[in-house]
Symmetry: C2
Subunit: 131 residues, 2 copies
Amino acid sequence: MDWLDAVKWDAQGLVPAIAQEVGSNDVLMFAFRNREGLAKTAELGEAVYFSRSRNRLWHKGEESGHIQKVRELRLDCDNDVVLLKVEQLGHTPGIACHTGRHSCFFQRHEQGQGVWRSVEPVLKDPQGIYK
Amino acid sequence: MDWLDAVKWDAQGLVPAIAQEVGSNDVLMFAFRNREGLAKTAELGEAVYFSRSRNRLWHKGEESGHIQKVRELRLDCDNDVVLLKVEQLGHTPGIACHTGRHSCFFQRHEQGQGVWRSVEPVLKDPQGIYK
């Protein structure tokens, strides 16, 4: 069986994908990927997602230069979630988030206060990332 | 605004959730959570998901004993994905997967061969986990 056929695509033909940084093991981002995007990811060795808002393939870093080199691709026990171990290129430390932060998961729940608080620094002004 | 209202719930009233192990930073599993599940997760300090197959709240570990103590809750930049930093209880090393493995992401894509291969050991026979 083709490895792409082994993936359980959802009703929209997509699979959720988590990007994790090699080395730090930080979770950088989460996005969806269609069959073509997963095939291209393996072929290029760079993360290609499917943008639901733009309804097209999205080669991560195509505008920002923040390419994700894929070191490993993993599939979960139910064959319906993909994990990418990536090297986040284009800036040191790596910037995966469109807000200019290292990771998209920069809002922390503050238990006592019942709020989400931004707790990670902006590493680069997004205006300088997307020209 | 209530922190639960800040979350962008999908059409089914769910939000994708990634569980990551504190310390190792390993990604353990991925599942969905509804509003009640997220509220309970914060209240108990233990991971409560929504099981789409059983259509009910699922207190992770309720059968297996493999409870996830939640050390931190994070929300992504689009407010539509949650990351839980957890301590995986019930076994050392932690078992998050129903197959008896540490993580659900145990299938690795073998680039040259075009297959997914199981590359992580079963730490405990599932028959001994679910009695």
